[in-house]
Subunit: 458 residues, 4 copies
C-alpha cells in the first residue's frame, strides 16, 4: 500500500466520484488482481494437462495472494517492464521447482488483454448493469404510478399535444431497457487470448500439438472464450462496442436528466428534486432549489462522450501491435466509472422525484385552446375539408389575436358549423377538452413498464 | 433540378469522393424519394383498411413520381416547414377526393424517421456491406495465397518473432468479417415509427381502435418494424449503434491501411501499391512511389471518427423532441458515404497489392539472431533454467556487442551446453532456423479464411 | 464545368446551407483559383528577379484565367497527382519559352499550403468576420435598446436575482467581440511557405543564394509571410489555432441561441422569433411557433465542434510529411462554412427578435418574494447578524410554507425588526421592490456596447 | 487527510502519471488552497477600503491555513453546497466580529472562477511552460549538435531529398517555441470575476458606489484582472483558448514522438532511446528495444485531444449559468497534467537520444540514385527542357529496371549530354553526390536554434 490523501488526487473520479465497488475491479489494484488470476489460470491449465503437479498450483495460488501492486511497481521501476515485473514478483514467491511454469509461453498481452476482458466483463455485469437496472426499476415504478397523470407534450420547447407523465418516462424505460440488454450481450462477448507474442501461438507450439485448444482451456478458467484471431493483442472491436454502448447508456441518462431539470425550471415546476432539510441551494441566494443532481448527470455525459474518441483512436495499432495506446487504454475504465456514478446518483434523485400535479394542470391550461388545433385539423381533413391545415392555422391566429379559446372561435366560425355536426361524439368531446386527447399514452406506459419488469425480472 | 458546377461544392464528399450509388440513397433527392415512399405506404395502408379506394392509391403513387426536391424546397421557402412543403406539393397533384388521405394522422417525424430508417438500412445493406464484402473477398484471396509467406512479426515497430503474411491479413479478415456481421444485424434492426406528434398515437386514435396495429401495417409496407415506444421521434439508439459500427469498420480499414503504408516505407519495402504507367508520385520528385491510397483511407478515418461525437450529441433531445439536432442529423449520411469510399478505394488498392518476397526475406534476416531469443528463453525456462529470461537477455546483448548471431553465442556458452542437449530435435531446429518459428500461422490463416468464405458465401 | 443537380449532393453544406460567397473561396473552384494565384506569384517573382521577361508573366496570367478545375481533374485522373495535373494544364497553355518558369523549384505543398493560407485568410477576413460583425451590431442595438428592461436572472434554470435584458446580451457582445478580435489576429498570421519538397529550400538553392529572401518575395505577392521553418508543409499550428477560434465563436453563437430558445418556451415567453405570415410551425399542429432558427444554430455547433478533433488529428504528419491528412484537410473549410451560416442566420433571427415586456414582468413577479433573499441575507450579514444565510433560508422556507411574500414574513419577524431599522433607505427600498435590485446591469450594458461599437467602428 | 492506497485509484493520472508539482495546483487540495486565497483577497480588500480592521485580516489568514479539504467535504455532505461548506468552515474559525466579512457580497463562482484562473495560470506558468522549455532546450542542443548530420528527408514514408537531422529537429524547435509563447500570453490573460450571483454586481452595489473598482482591487490581490462582462461565471473563452493551446502543444510533442519511434524501427534504426542496463524490452522477447517512451507520448495525446471536446461542450451554459459543466469542468486539470507528464517524459527520453550515423548513411545510400531525381528535373527544366519532369520520371524507371544508379543512366542518355554540359559546377556536383543536396538545412537549423535560445533566454 502506498498511501496518499485522496484530495491530492487530480481526477475527480478519484476524489469526488470514487466508488469502492468500481475500484474493486477498475483500479490498478483490481487490475493486478485480475492479472494474477490469469497467471494462475495458466498454471492450473498446465496442471490439468499433466505438465506440473498440484503443489505448483497451490504454490502459485498462495503467491498470487501475496503479490502487491506496490511491489510490482517497485520492480517495474527497476526493469521498465510492467508484466515482467509482475512475473518476477510472483517467481520470487514460489519454489525453484515451480518457477518455470509461471508465465510459460505467455506474452504480456496474453495476461493484460485477458485480464482486461475479465474485469471489464465483471465490472459491467456486476456493477454497471445492476446500477442501471436499479434506475430502470425506479423509472418503471414512476411510469406505473403516473401512467394517467396528464402532462402537456412538448416539442421545440413549445406545447404540442397532451401525453401522460408516465408515458414520458416509459420512453426512457424502453430505451434504458434496450441498452441494458445490449450491455449484457457485449460484456459476455468480450474475448481473451493466449496466443503469444504475435498471435500465431509460436511459443505454445513448442510444447503443444493443439495450441488453440490450450488457449481455450486457459481462458475457460476465467470464464472467457478466445478471440478468433489475434496479433499480440486481442482485436479491439469487442471492447470498442462495449464502451460505445456504455456511452449510449449514459446518453439516455443525460437525456432523462435534461428533461427533468427543464421541468424543474421556476416557470414550469412540474417536477422537483426533493431537498434535504439542511441543503443549501446557493451560497448567496437562500431561496434557490437547484437541480444539481440532474445537472451532474448531464455533465458526466460531457465527460464520457468525447472519451469515446480515445477508444476509437486506440482501435488502431500498427502491425502485430504498437503501444501508442498504452497509456490511453488505461483511461477506458473511467468511462465505466462515470457511467456507474451517473446511474447511482440519478437513481437516488429519481427515487425522490416530486411530481407537481398543480403545475402540470396549470401548464396544460396555458394553451388549452392551442393544443386542440391538431385534432381539429386532422378531423377536418378527414371530413374532407380541402385545406384543413391552413384553415386551422388561421383560426389559431384569430384566437390568439382575440384572446379567446380556440373552441370558442371554432364554434362561431360559419364554415366550421357543418364540420362540427359531422364529428363523432368522441371527436367533438376532444375539441372541448384537450385533456382527453392523450391517445394511448396511459396504456402504452403500462405496456412498456410491464414488458421490462418481466424481461429484467423486476 | 437545380444545376451547379460540382466544383463549386464545399464538401469533398460532393466533388471528390461523391459516389452515384451512395447518392441514390443518401443525397437530398434520395431522401425525398424515401419520404414519398412513406407517404405512399400510409395511403396504401388506409386503402388496405378500407378507408380509401384504390384510385386514391394510384393517384398518390403517380403524384409521388412527379414531386421534385426543387419544388419542395420552393414551397418550403414560402412556408418555412419542410414536411408540410412536401405534403403541399403532393396534395396539389391529386384530386380533391384524395387530398384528405395524404399525411393523414401523421406528424413530420413519422415521415422523416421512417424514411431515414429505410434509406439507411438500404444504404448499408445494398452499398456499404457489399463494398466491405468485396474487400473481405480480396483479403481472403491474399490470405490464402500468402498463407505460407514468412514475414517478421513486429511489435512497437521492432522485429518480434515470425508470422506469415497471410496470417497478418487473416487478422483483418476476422475483424472485418465480424464488423460486416454486426452491420447486418444493426441495419435490419433500424425501427420506424408512425405514432404522431408526441408518440402517443393521439391523432390516429381519433380514427382507429388499434393505432399500434395501424403503425405496424404502415411500416410493414416499407420493410420496417415499429420501435417499442417513441416520442415525436424514434429514439436514436438504434441509429447511433449502427453509425458506431460504421466507424468501427472504418477503423479496421484504417488499421489495415496503416500497416500497408508502413510496410511500403522505402527501408521496409515488403509491399507496394501497383503504380499506373502514367502515374506521378510527386510534382518535383519523379522517383517517388507514394502510398496515397492507403494514406487516403487513414485520412477518411480521421474524418469519420470525430463525427461520431456529433451522433452522440444528437442522441439528446428535450422532452418529446427539440430540434437542436435538425441540421446535424443531416450530416450523418456523410459517415456512411466516407466509409463506402474507403471500402471501394481500399479494395482496388489491395487487389493490386504487390508482395515483395525478396524484401520479406531480407528483413527477416536482419535480426535472424535476435528473433530466436524468445523460443530460446521459453525452452530454457521449460527445461528448468532458474532465470531463463535474464540469461537470454544477457546472451542477446553479448551477440549484439560481438556482432555475432545469437545461435553462435549460445553454442559457445558453457552454461547452455547442457540445455541444448536436452532440447527436442524440433526445438533445436528452431534455434538454428527462426523461419521455422511461425507457430500455427499458416494453418490459422487458412482456417480463418475458410470460415469467412463460407459465412459470407464468397 | 461539370453540372449536377444540387439535390444529388450528400452534404447539407452543398444543398441546404450552401453559400455563394463562401464557395467563392472555399469550394474546389475557389481552391483552384487560389492555387493558380500562387503559381502566378512565383512567375511574377522570377520576373522581378530578372529571370524571365514580362511576356512570360502575362502569358501565365492569361493561362491561369483559362485553367478550369474540371480540366485539372481530367489530367489528375490520368496521372494520379493533383498539383502536377494543375501544372500540366498550365504548361499546355503557355509558349515553350515560358514553360520552364512554371512551378520552378516549387513542391506541391508550396502551392497548396500557401493557397490555403491565402484563401482561409480571405474567407475569414472577408466573410466570417463581417458576418459575425453584423451579428455583433444587432446585439449591440438590442443591448442599448433593452439596457433598462428588467429581467429575472437565472442560474440552474431557477430564478436568481434581477438583471436587465440588455445586460444579458452585453455578455454576448463582449464574448463575440473578443472572438472577432482573436479571429482577425489569427487570420492575418496564417503563414505560407515556398521552401520546396522537404522545407530546406533544396531546389531554390540551386538557383538562388538567398532562397529565404526568394520565398519571402513570392509570398509577399499573396499578402503572406513565410513560416519560420517548414517541412514539405507549413506546420499546422497556425491553422489549428484559427479553426479552434472559429469553433469558439460558434460556441458563443450556440450559447446565445440556447438562451433564446429557452426564453421562447411556452411557459417563459420572454422572447420570440418573429413568424412570417405564411410560416408553418408544425405539419400537424398549426398553433406551434418553433424556435427553429435558434435550434439550427445549436445544431450547427454540434456539427462544428467534433470536427475540431479532425483538425487536431491532422496536426500530426510523419517526418517531412505523410498524407494521412490528405482527405481530411479538405473538410476543414466546412468548419468555416457552417460558422458563416450560423452567423448569417442568427443575425437575421436576432434582428427580428421580439421581447415580451409583459411576460418579463410576469416572470419577475413569480418569486418576487424569493429574489429578495440575497440582498436581505447580505445586508443582515453586513449588519452583523451572526448567521444571516441560515436565517434567511429559514424565512424563505416559511414564506413558501405560508404562501406569503418574503417581505411580509420579514416584517413580522421579531428578530428582524432591529435589522430593518439599521438599513439604509436604499437597502430598505430594495427589500420592498426587487426590481430595483439590478446592480449596475444597465450601466454595464451601455458601457460594453459602447466599447465594442467603437472598437469595431460600428 | 483522508488516506487511500494510490493503487485503489481509477484514473492513471492518480496512480501512474501523478506528479507532485502538478497536484500542488491541480488536485482538490490545491483547489481548496486557491479558493481560500480568494476569500482572503476579499477580506484584505475590505480592510484596504476601511470596512474591517487588520485583526480581521489576520484572523482570516490564520483560519485559511487551518481549513482542510476533508473538513469542507464533511460540511458539504451535510448541506450539499461546496462553497457554502467552505465558507462555513472558515466562519467557525474566526471570531464573531470577523464573520460578516467572510464571503461578503460574493457568489460561489466569484470564488471558484477566480481561483481557477489563478491556479491554472500558476500551473501553466510554473510547471507546464518550464517543462516544455526544458524540452525546447534539449531540442535546441540536438539541433545544433546535428545541424550538419545529413539524413534523408521523407515524405509519405518514402525517401525524398536530403536534409540534416538538426534541421528536422529545428522544425520542432520552431513549433514548440511558438506554442510556449502562445501559452504564456493565454495564461496571463486568464481573467477572474467578483461581480456576484448574476454578474451585475447586485450585492456589492448595496455597499459600494464603485463595484467594478472593488472587483478590480480584489482580483489584483491575486494577480488577476476582471473579465469585461460576466454572468454568474467568467465567460469560458479565455480558458478554452488556453486548453486548446495545451492540446496543440501536446500535438507537437506527439508528432515529434511519432517521428522518433518510426526512426527507431528495426529497418531504419537512425535513432534509439538509450536502454537502461536492467531494462526489459518484452516479457518473452529479450532482444526487443521498444520505443515505449515515444509511444507513451503519442498515447497521452490520444487522451488529451478528445477531451478538448469536453472543454468545448462546457463552453455552453444557459442564461446566467447552468451547472451542466459542474462535474466536467473538474476534469480540465487532467489535460494540463497529461501535457506536463508528456513534456517531462519526452525531455528525459530526448536527452538520452542516440543518433546512429552509420544507419543514417546506409539509408541515404538506399536510393542515392533516386533522390537526385528532383534536382535533375529542376535543372533540366531551368535549362529549357520542354518536359523535364516526364523525362526524369522515365530515366528513374529505367534506372530501377536496370538496377543502375540514376547518374549512370543520365550520363549514358544521349539527350542528356547537352544539358549536363550546360550545368554549373555546383549543379553537376549535386547530380553526382546527393549528400550535397541539402539546401540551407544546416544554416536554417542553426538560425532557428539561435532564435529560440535567445527568445527563451536559454
Amino acid at each position: 500500500m502506498k498511501l496518499r490523501d485522496v484530495f491530492d488526487n487530480i481526477s475527480p473520479i478519484d476524489y469526488r466520484y470514487w466508488d469502492e465497488e468500481v475500484a474493486a475491479h477498475l483500479s490498478e489494484n483490481g487490475f493486478t488482481r485480475y492479472k494474477l488470476l490469469v497467471e494462475l489460470a495458466l498454471v492450473t491449465t498446465l496442471h490439468n494437462r499433466g505438465m506440473c503437479d498440484e503443489i505448483t498450483v497451490l504454490e502459485v495460488e498462495f503467491a498470487c495472494r501475496r503479490v502487491t501492486t506496490e511491489e510490482v511497481y517497485g520492480e517495474e521501476d527497476r526493469i521498465q517492464h510492467d508484466i515482467r515485473a509482475l512475473v518476477n514478483c510472483l517467481r520470487t514467491k514460489v519454489s525453484r521447482r515451480a518457477k518455470p511454469y509461471i508465465h510459460m509461453t505467455a506474452t504480456s498481452n496474453d495476461i493484460i488483454d485477458s485480464s482486461n476482458a475479465a474485469r471489464y466483463m465483471d465490472a459491467v455485469e456486476r456493477i454497471l448493469i445492476p446500477a442501471l437496472t436499479n434506475l430502470e426499476e425506479v423509472l418503471i415504478t414512476i411510469t406505473l404510478r403516473e401512467a394517467e397523470t396528464v402532462q402537456v407534450g412538448r416539442t421545440h420547447g413549445q406545447h404540442a399535444v397532451p401525453i401522460t407523465f408516465g408515458f414520458a418516462l416509459a420512453g426512457y424505460v424502453s430505451r434504458l431497457g434496450g441498452s441494458i440488454e445490449a450491455l449484457k450481450i457485449l460484456a459476455e462477448e468480450l474475448p481473451g487470448k493466449f496466443s503469444g507474442a504475435v498471435g500465431a501461438h509460436n511459443a505454445s507450439s513448442l510444447f503443444f500439438d493443439d495450441p488453440e485448444e490450450f488457449e481455450t482451456e486457459v481462458l475457460a478458467e476465467l470464464g472467457l472464450v478466445p478471440v478468433e484471431c489475434s496479433t499480440q493483442i486481442v482485436p479491439p472491436e469487442a471492447m470498442t462496442r462495449l464502451l460505445c454502448e456504455v456511452a449510449i447508456a449514459s446518453g439516455i441518462l443525460a437525456n432523462l436528466a435534461d428533461d427533468m431539470r427543464h421541468l424543474q425550471r421556476t416557470e414550469i415546476g412540474e417536477v422537483g428534486e426533493e431537498f434535504e432539510v439542511a441543503q443549501v441551494g446557493s451560497s448567496t441566494m437562500p431561496q434557490k432549489r437547484n437541480p444539481i443532481n440532474f445537472e451532474n448527470t448531464k455533465s458526466c455525459w460531457q465527460i464520457v462522450v468525447p472519451r469515446i474518441v480515445t477508444v476509437f483512436m486506440d482501435q488502431i495499432s500498427e502491425h502485430q501491435r504498437d503501444m501508442t495506446n498504452g497509456a490511453s487504454i488505461r483511461t477506458h475504465p473511467e468511462i465505466i466509472a462515470y457511467a456507474v456514478h451517473m446511474a447511482k446518483r440519478l437513481t437516488r434523485t429519481m427515487r425522490k422525484l416530486k411530481v407537481d400535479q398543480e403545475n402540470l394542470l396549470k401548464n396544460l391550461d396555458m394553451t388549452r385552446g392551442g393544443i386542440v388545433a391538431e385534432p381539429l385539423y386532422i378531423i377536418l381533413a378527414a371530413l374532407g375539408h380541402p385545406d384543413a391545415h391552413e384553415k386551422v392555422r388561421a383560426l389559431t391566429l384569430q384566437a390568439q389575436r382575440e384572446a379567446r379559446s380556440l373552441e370558442e372561435v371554432v364554434v362561431c366560425d360559419a364554415e366550421m358549423k357543418n364540420y362540427l355536426e359531422k364529428m363523432t361524439p368522441h371527436q367533438r368531446e376532444i375539441i372541448s377538452d384537450p385533456l382527453l386527447y392523450t391517445g394511448i399514452a396511459a396504456k402504452k406506459a403500462r405496456k412498456v413498464a410491464a414488458h421490462w419488469k418481466q424481461k429484467l425480472s423486476l
